[in-house]
């Protein structure tokens, strides 16, 4: 009648495990060796990942940290009335007529005055007037003009300014430019560097922390020292707001529907294949889509963070959906049963039990998706965001529609520029981008740790 009697009741073979526990037998040794190998492979894999990270991050840091420092030259500028306000009536419209080119001589004379003060002459270094002016950033004239227009009354006075030094001079103090390279360089001469040393000794030249990098807008190739990433930071922030507010809820909602509610049929199969396929669509194609739909069809403005955000949302969605679905799938059915068994609705069982358990995976997907969105350039190319933008967008919500740049765009732009001074700025922007990313991830990581549990 029973299985047990059907099977032979013959005495079982003596176990092959007999023997001391303290002596590991050959097979176990083999298995343990393979265990160790496996473990080492895992550790190695992490090692590779971390090593790659360290290499990349140190190279970024070593290149980018100098961007946070900048060389400044302090000059006392006499705001010459004869040059700035010929009629002397302080009419703002007339003052505005003097263009930045008109301010250059003021700087030049301020420079000469400073040299006199510290007791050196241009001839000593073999420098022309123009060489002297070139030591100061071209931004200086603009700064001066802004000051005068804001304070017309200061005309006729002597005001102390801390001007940015030219990129090559700055490079000299950061080790990028040397006397030897200056010899070959058509943009800087050893004389200028010697003068810079003299100025430094005289106390008017100093290298210190540069807030301007974070607060200023991009600058043209003529003045890398003045280039900042202010507009890009704001643009990225706006875009990430859009992405986070749209992609996460839509992505999670879509996954919940597909994983928990959708009937199993060809249509949901279609959606599933379709979503994994969207993940493989090159990001630039999302740019094409954004151009067609959001700009040409919906009439949203070019270069606007709202469009960028929408495009990146569409691009990020598949990542979030795929990871969310995967983690929803991994929640054991017994949990769902338990909830349904006490009379929870499907919706309640999902939102109260399944979703919290799937949270770590969802957050991972979100982190990865956002990281991707934050670092993406290609789709922005077609919607006008890979651009030279100097105007700061206004505060939200209008600001979402103003032209703006983005951090990866700024990185991309900087790396394309001819002047080597932009290299450090590109790396500096990457550092900011990574900090940005870390901040965004921080919350997610904390949350993830809270939700993680085994059962």
């Amino acid at each position: 009648m029973t299985d047990a009697t059907a099977s032979s009741p013959a005495a079982p073979k003596p176990s092959r495990h007999r023997g001391s526990l303290l002596e590991v037998d050959a097979r176990t040794r083999r298995r343990n060796a393979s265990e160790r190998r496996f473990r080492r492979l895992g550790l190695g894999a992490i090692g590779i990942g971390v090593a790659a990270l360290i290499i990349l991050v140190t190279s970024i840091l070593s290149q980018g940290l100098p961007a946070f420092q900048q060389t400044f030259i302090a000059l006392d500028v006499y705001l010459d009335e004869t040059k700035l306000d010929k009629n002397g009536n302080r009419d703002i419209e007339e003052i505005k007529k003097v263009s930045t080119f008109g301010y250059t001589p003021l700087i030049n004379s301020a420079m000469s005055a400073k040299m006199e003060e510290i007791g050196v002459t241009a001839e000593e270094f073999g420098l022309s007037d123009r060489d002297l002016t070139d030591m100061i950033s071209k931004e200086a004239a603009a700064e001066l003009r802004r000051h005068v227009i804001a304070n017309p009354d200061s005309i006729g006075e002597t005001v102390t300014f801390e001007f940015l030094a030219n990129g090559r001079i700055d490079g000299y103090f950061k080790g990028r430019v040397t006397m030897e390279s200056a010899q070959l360089d058509s943009n800087v001469s050893p004389g200028q560097l010697q003068l810079a040393d003299a100025l430094k000794e005289g106390g008017s030249l100093s290298t210190h922390w540069n807030w301007g990098f974070f607060t200023m807008a991009d600058a043209s190739e003529n003045r890398p020292e003045a280039a900042g990433i202010g507009v890009a930071i704001i643009g990225s922030m706006y875009m990430m707001m859009v992405v986070l507010c749209l992609a996460l809820p839509i992505g999670v909602a879509a996954s919940i529907y597909l994983e928990e509610f959708a009937p199993q049929n060809w249509f949901t199969d279609l959606i599933e294949v379709n979503i994994s396929n969207l993940a493989a669509v090159p990001s630039i194609v999302f740019g094409i889509l954004g151009l067609a739909i959001f700009i040409n069809y919906a009439g949203l403005p070019q270069s606007a963070p709202i469009v960028g955000g929408l495009v990146l949302t569409l691009m990020t969605l598949p990542t979030i959906i795929i990871s969310t679905r995967a983690s929803l799938k991994s929640v054991p059915p017994s949990i769902r049963d338990a909830a349904l068994g006490v009379g929870a609705s499907k919706m309640q069982s999902v939102f109260h039990h399944v979703l919290p358990l799937a949270m770590p995976g969802i957050l991972t997907g979100t982190i990865i998706g956002l990281a991707q969105a934050l670092g993406e350039t290609a789709p922005l190319m077609l919607i006008g965001m890979v651009a030279f933008v100097r105007e700061f967008p206004s505060a939200p919500p209008e600001g979402f529609f103003d032209p703006a740049s983005a951090l990866p765009v700024q990185v991309y732009n900087f790396t394309q520029r001819a002047d080597p001074a932009f290299v450090e700025r590109a790396s500096g922007a990457i550092i900011v981008l990574l900090i940005f990313l870390l901040c965004m991830n921080f919350i997610a990581i904390i949350l993830r740790r809270r939700f993680e549990r085994r059962w």
């Binding site: 943009n187 003529n222 890979v386 032209p403 394309q416 001819a418 080597p420």
Partner: protein, 322 residues
């Protein structure tokens, strides 16, 4: 929706640096907001220009080559009938190598013999056997042939094809040989060897520069302005014995150069605030003149700038392409 109040520019990445210098100065000196200047390529810029008339289309397309008939047709189709063509100057294309390497003095024929797929040896077309520059021309250093030339997406490549390869093809007699072989329009002149001696660069000049750093033996193609910003790393080669410089290019001695343009959608003039002022400012002597910041940056100033200024001031629409 609020009306747009800034000028929008898109197009060639070669023109981009110049345009951004102008835009920056414009924003500093005028009450208008700084124009937004986009790169994205000449073709894409002109396409955007021709998308139609209206606020959510751009005002100006920068271009590193003349507009094509197909673009004009596309424009007309979308109601952009009046386009102003503005030539802002010339861009020199130079050949440069690592500063620690030897000097090079090229002719187009050298280049052709170095990187073309088929060359003439003893009167017959054969697959390119040259391994070093000395094989090409005994006066050149015996350095391995490796050239970083712009990829086929770049307008620079078009100039390179025309002014260097084609010229070299003619000079070495390969053109005749191709014609004799039945290839009437010398398509074969443009065919490059694929064994790694010539490498297309789809990125920009910074990529070429980085590649030179990784391959110090190679020679790269650059824009003059790019070279001028990196004279401490690069050594420039002569072409037909001429050293490239703004002077030699503006006189036309140095052969490899091309004009740069921008195209203005006339319908937007008087509508987009600051547009007229921007283009006037762009071509003013202060900016585009031989002593202006553009020239200082490496743009070869246009000798006929005065005519351009007048045309811009009067809003002269471009004539049909001939």
């Amino acid at each position: 929706a609020a009306a747009r109040d800034n000028v929008q520019v898109a197009g060639s990445s070669t023109v981009l640096p110049y345009a951004s210098i102008v835009a920056e100065a414009f924003g500093e000196n005028f009450d208008f907001p700084t124009p937004v200047v986009e790169g994205g390529g000449s073709g894409a810029g002109r396409k955007k220009l021709c998308e139609g008339v209206g606020e959510n289309t751009i005002d100006i397309a920068n271009s590193s080559s003349r507009i094509k008939q197909s673009d004009i047709d596309l424009c007309a189709q979308n109601g952009v009938t009046e386009i102003m063509e503005v030539r802002i100057g010339y861009d020199g294309i130079v050949f440069a190598s690592d500063i620690n390497g030897p000097d090079f003095a090229f002719t187009p024929a050298d280049w052709y013999n170095a990187i073309a797929e088929k060359i003439v040896v003893d009167g017959a077309l054969v697959a390119n056997p040259n391994m070093t520059w000395a094989d090409v021309n005994p006066e050149l250093p015996a350095q391995k042939i490796m050239a970083f030339i712009p990829g086929t997406k770049h307008g620079t490549r078009e100039v390179f094809d025309e002014k260097v390869l084609e010229a070299g093809c003619e000079a070495t007699g390969a053109a005749e040989a191709f014609a004799a072989a039945g290839d009437a329009d010398h398509k074969g002149c443009m065919a490059l060897r694929t064994d790694g001696a010539s490498v297309d660069i789809d990125g920009d000049y910074t990529e070429t520069l980085s590649r030179l750093a990784a391959n110090p033996e190679a020679i790269g193609v650059f824009g003059l302005s790019f070279y001028e910003a990196n004279t401490d790393k690069l050594i420039v080669a002569t072409m037909d014995g001429i050293v490239p410089s703004t002077e030699s290019i503006s006189t036309g001695e140095y052969p490899v150069s091309r004009p740069l343009y921008f195209y203005v959608k006339k319908a937007h003039l008087g509508v987009i605030p600051g547009l007229q002022e921007y283009i006037d400012f762009f071509v003013s002597d202060e900016i585009a003149g031989p002593d202006g910041p553009l020239a200082q940056y490496g743009l070869v100033s246009d000798p006929e700038l005065a005519a351009t200024q007048e045309a811009v001031a009067n809003g002269v629409v471009m004539a049909p392409l001939n």
